[in-house]
Symmetry: C2
Subunit: 234 residues, 2 copies
DNA sequence: AGCATCTTGTGCGGCAGCGCACAGAGCGGG
DNA sequence: CCCGCTCTGTGCGCTGCCGCACAAGATGCT
């Protein structure tokens, strides 16, 4: 159980702004519980809130041909709704909670005011936006070129980094949607990873058994993404 | 031959900022000629300049597995180097000139100052950034799901919108790199479009014969992208 | 215990695109 | 005019994934 101080710094963006600014911001935040499948924002619709995940994580998905595909993932290293900083109220992506947990929530209007008064907050959120742009581009290539098994490994590692630990819940079906492949494709890829003792996967319960091994099974995108984040917000 | 006034407003971002701010900015700009294959920015390297294309256009590409893939296209409707606005000096994408022509160029430092003093400029560039984010996401799905022929049609239409007219120069080989497919894939797709009298394509010289027809051959991404732009910057 | 439901595993034909290789076609320079 | 270069067209076997369909295991509710 994290203490109150931990909770304040658990979100890495918030942790990077000076304590004074952070406390001013947090005073206007609610701590909310996010449960899987909650929809935080919708393409074309006004964003009412900005979210700073604490121990939850959110899939950013784009609609494409009547279905959706994941194009980004936001956990405690980021923020959902950063584009409000760009003066655009409408989201262009859909944000769906994937890993349940808590997050700081602030209304769009309050967030704007806080951003106005804290250059540091502005800077950090802007930088995060920049990272997201890079990751969107990376992801496009990943989805185009990389094999399902490698993409699955990447996804699991990214989820691990954002979730509480080495275990989380996600069905093949749902993962297939995120990766933009058939459910059977995930079943096979997961089977292969399991045969290599890298993960255990049973009825939605994933456990990462060998993180290192999984990293070498993953495509470069996992490492690249981490490095990009570190170089901009490290 | 466009007049001086036309040239000032030929870039749509600039056209959207008040005349006074625009002239202040243009006073610090150089009008430069961009020729195909010029590299305006490079991943990981400092961006020295910001470019406002007038009648040139630029491919934004991401490195992936030792090759590159196009993830965006910037012409007179946009600006290259917008991420400077986010306080990040390093580009995450590579910008390669595809359609020769001219552009307004301003140094990064000057651009920052101008952005500082013109809220309108800030707003427009920020909004454009938001559009780019949406298009990056769209593009990821496009590259993953859509057939080469439809993607080729989309690409040609986007190039037409950004270029001088219905004709431009681009070899199959180069296009294949942009789309992330084999050269032969482009050859076949182009052959199919040509057989349907939608384009003429000979040794790099493309002519769009039937724009409407080409639009119906293209994937939705073309229309979606235009609509997104219009809804944010219209 | 029994049943419905959700999740996972397997099999099969088909297809778009890949890698490779080579042949022709247009174009410019010596 | 011929040579070399760039660009385009064609053929062939392969593969990763798709769509579809069905079986089997796990879980929870009555």
């Amino acid at each position: 159980m994290p203490s109150a101080v931990d909770a304040q710094t658990a979100n890495r963006i918030l942790a990077l702004v000076p304590r004074k600014d952070r406390q001013h911001l947090l005073a206007r935040c609610d701590k909310v519980a996010l449960t899987p499948a909650d929809e935080l924002c919708k393409p074309g619709e006004r964003m009412g809130y900005v979210y700073f995940p604490i121990d939850s994580f959110v899939a950013m998905v784009a609609p494409i041909d009547e279905v959706v595909m994941q194009v980004g993932m936001v956990g405690r290293e980021g923020v959902v709704g950063a584009s409000l900083m760009l003066g655009v109220d409408n989201s262009s992506l859909r944000g769906i909670v994937q890993g349940g947990g808590s997050a700081w929530r602030i209304s769009a209007a309050d967030f704007r005011e806080e951003a106005e008064r804290s250059p540091s907050l502005r800077q950090k959120v802007n930088r995060y936006l920049c990272v997201q742009i890079g990751q969107l581009a990376q992801n496009a290539g990943c989805a185009r070129f990389h094999l399902v098994e490698a993409r699955l490994a990447s996804w699991l590692l990214m989820a691990r980094d954002r979730a509480h630990g080495n275990e989380f819940f996600i069905t093949h079906e749902f993962l297939a949607n995120m990766l933009g492949v058939r459910r059977v494709g995930v079943t096979n890829a997961a089977g292969a990873l399991q045969a290599r003792k890298l993960i255990r996967y049973s009825r939605g319960n994933v456990t990462i058994l060998n993180g290192r091994g999984l990293e070498s099974a993953a495509c470069e995108c996992y490492r690249t993404g981490k490095e990009m984040y570190a170089s901009v917000l490290g």
